[in-house]
C-alpha cells in the first residue's frame, strides 16, 4: 500500500506545461529521490503534493485520501510537510520561533524543539538568532527542523544542497538517518545526483516533466543516469 500516489499528473503555468502525465508512488518508510536538471519539473511536483500548485489533470492521493484540490494548510494536518525551495525562513522571527510556527499543527510524534536541536546542532546554536541573520546552511537546517515540527508522515525536501558549501550539505544530510529511522517517509528533490544516490532507497529521474529513468541506486549505472539526466 503506497503512502503517496501521484497519477498521470499534468501541471501548467499559463500556456507552459511543466509536467506531462507524471506518475510517482512512494511507500511508507521509503526515501525516494527525484533527480533531474533545471526545469525538469521537480519543484513543481513537490508543490503539487504540498498544494501550492493545482494540477490541470491527474490526481494526488495521500494515505487513501484524494487531496488533488485540498488547500496547502489542510494537507499539513494529514501529515505532509514541505521544506520549500529557497528555504523561506521567516526573517523577523527567531530560529526557535520559526520552529514553533512549524509546530502550529499539533500532530503527535517524535519531533519537538528538543529533538530537532539534537538532530541539528547547527540549529540549536542559533536558536535566539533572527531568521534574517542566518547563513544558507543554518537556514536550510532550520527549514528542515521547522517542517519536522509538524511530525509529518511524508517530508518533502526541495533542493537541500542548492547554494550550500559541500561540507554544509554533508552536515545536513547527516541528519537524514535520524529522520527516516522514525519511520518518516522522505521525498527529496536534488540536482546533486551523488548526494541523493547515497541517501535514497529509490531514484526517479525527470526530464522535461516526464520520468526517464527509475530504479534502486545499486541497480543504476552511472552512464545510464548521466544520459537520462541530460537527455542524451
Amino acid at each position: 500500500m503506497s503512502l503517496l500516489s501521484v497519477r498521470d499528473l499534468d501541471v501548467h503555468y499559463g500556456d507552459f506545461q511543466a509536467i506531462y502525465g507524471l506518475t510517482v508512488t512512494i511507500d511508507e518508510g521509503e526515501t525516494l529521490a527525484i533527480i533531474g536538471a533545471n526545469g525538469a519539473g521537480k519543484s513543481t511536483l513537490l508543490k503539487s503534493i504540498a498544494g501550492q500548485v493545482t494540477p490541470t489533470a491527474g490526481s494526488v492521493t495521500f494515505a487513501d485520501v484524494d487531496i488533488t484540490r485540498t488547500p496547502p494548510h489542510k494537507r499539513v494536518p494529514l501529515g505532509i510537510a514541505l521544506t520549500p525551495e529557497g528555504r523561506r525562513i521567516f526573517p523577523s522571527l527567531t530560529v526557535e520561533e520559526n520552529l514553533l510556527v512549524g509546530a502550529h499543527v499539533k500532530r503527535k510524534g517524535p519531533w519537538s524543539l528538543a529533538s530537532v536541536y539534537e538532530a541539528f546542532p547547527l540549529v540549536a546554536d542559533r536558536r535566539d538568532r533572527l531568521g534574517a541573520n542566518l547563513s544558507g546552511g543554518e537556514q536550510q537546517a532550520t527549514a528542515i527542523g521547522r517542517a519536522l515540527m509538524s511530525n509529518p508522515r511524508l517530508l518533502l525536501l526541495d533542493e537541500v544542497s542548492l547554494g550550500l558549501a559541500p561540507v554544509v550539505v554533508e552536515q545536513i544530510y547527516a541528519a537524514l538517518p535520524a529522520i527516516t529511522s522514525t519511520g518518516t517517509t522522505v521525498l527529496v528533490v536534488e540536482q546533486d545526483v551523488n548526494q541523493s544516490m547515497k541517501v535514497a532507497s529509490r531514484v526517479q529521474c525527470l526530464l522535461e516533466g516526464r520520468t526517464v529513468l527509475e530504479g534502486r541506486p545499486s541497480d543504476l549505472h552511472r552512464d545510464q543516469i548521466a544520459s537520462a539526466y541530460f537527455g542524451i
Partner: protein
C-alpha cells in the same frame, strides 16, 4: 510652568492617538492593509456605544463590554467578506475597499443619526481632575484614556511576541505564501487580526465619544491623526505608534500654547518634518522584509 503643563497634556492626548492608531498599525503590520475606514469605524463604535447607553442607561464604561466584542465580530466578518477578497485581487483593491467602506459607514451613520453633535455622558468624570500644582492639573478622563492606550499597546505587543497566534501573525506578515505550509490558514489569521484591530477601534471610539463631541464625519480627522501617529512612530512598530501618538499630541498642545489656532497646524508640520528627515519614523522595524 504652562509649557510643562502643555507637554503633560500632550502626552495624555498622545495616549488617545496611540489608542486610535494601534489597530491601524496592526492591520498594516500584518496584512499591509491601509485601512482608510479606521476613523469611520471608530465613530461607528461611538454611536454603537451611544445606542447602548441610551437604551439601557448604563455607564459608557460598562457599554465598552458590549461594544468591544461587537466591533471584534464586525472586524472578523469584514475581513472574511471584504478584505480577504480584496487582498486576493491584489494591487490597490484593499485600499479602495477600505475607502469605499469609510464612505458607506459615514453615510449610513449620517442617515440614521443626522449630523448633530453627540457625546457619551460620563457625568462628573468629564470635568474631574487631579491638581498637581497651581498651574498643572491632570484630567482624570484623559489620564484613564492614556493608561488604557498604553495598556492596549503593551497587550498587543505581548500578544504578538508571545502568543502562538501572534507568532503566526508575524510569520504571515513576513511571508504569506509560506505560512500555509505550516498548516496555518492565512485567511483565518487575517480575520482574527482584523477582529483584534477593531476591538481596539471600539475602545478608541468609546473614549473619543466620552472625551468630546462627535458626529458621523468626525472620523476623517481622527483617521489623519492616527495615520500621523503611525508614520511618526515607524510603520509596523507598535512601540513606535505609542511614541508617535505622544509626539503628535505634544506637538499639538505645545502648538496650541503658542497660539490656540496653531495646535493642529504644528502637529501636521512635525509630521511633515518626520516624513522629510526621517521617513522610516522614530522606531522603524528592525527587520525589513
Amino acid at each position: 510652568m504652562q509649557w510643562i503643563n502643555a507637554i503633560i497634556q500632550g502626552i495624555l492626548l498622545g495616549g488617545l492617538y496611540a489608542l486610535l492608531a494601534a489597530g491601524l498599525s496592526l492591520m498594516f503590520g500584518v496584512m499591509r492593509i491601509v485601512n482608510l475606514a479606521h476613523g469611520a469605524l471608530a465613530i461607528l463604535a461611538a454611536y454603537l456605544g451611544l445606542v447602548i447607553v441610551q437604551a439601557t442607561g448604563i455607564s459608557p464604561f460598562l457599554a465598552l463590554l458590549a461594544v468591544v466584542p461587537i466591533m471584534a465580530a464586525v472586524g472578523y466578518l469584514l475581513q472574511w467578506g471584504v478584505f480577504n477578497r480584496a487582498l486576493s485581487m491584489g494591487g490597490l483593491s484593499p485600499l479602495l475597499a477600505a475607502f469605499g467602506l469609510a464612505v458607506v459607514v459615514t453615510q449610513l451613520l449620517q442617515l440614521r443619526f443626522s449630523a448633530d453633535l453627540q457625546s457619551l455622558q460620563v457625568g462628573s468624570l468629564s470635568v474631574a481632575s487631579i491638581t498637581i500644582t497651581d498651574q498643572i492639573s491632570i484630567g482624570v478622563l484623559p489620564l484613564i484614556t492614556f493608561v488604557v492606550g498604553v495598556v492596549v499597546i503593551l497587550g498587543l505587543q505581548i500578544f504578538l511576541s508571545r502568543a502562538p497566534l501572534g507568532r503566526a501573525m508575524r510569520a504571515a506578515s513576513d511571508d504569506p505564501q509560506t505560512v500555509p505550509l505550516m498548516g496555518i490558514d492565512n485567511r483565518r489569521v487575517y480575520a482574527l487580526a482584523t477582529a483584534i484591530a477593531l476591538a481596539t477601534v471600539g475602545i478608541a471610539g468609546m473614549f473619543l465619544g466620552m472625551r468630546g463631541n462627535f458626529n458621523p464625519t468626525y472620523g476623517d480627522a481622527m483617521l489623519i491623526f492616527a495615520f500621523e501617529a503611525v508614520i511618526i512612530g515607524g510603520l509596523g512598530s507598535l512601540w513606535g505608534t505609542l511614541a508617535g501618538g505622544m509626539v503628535l499630541g505634544i506637538a499639538q498642545t505645545v502648538g496650541a500654547q503658542v497660539n490656540p489656532s496653531y495646535g493642529i497646524l504644528i502637529g501636521n508640520l512635525v509630521f511633515l518634518a518626520i516624513l522629510a528627515f526621517r521617513p522610516t519614523g522614530l522606531m522603524p522595524k528592525a527587520v525589513t522584509t
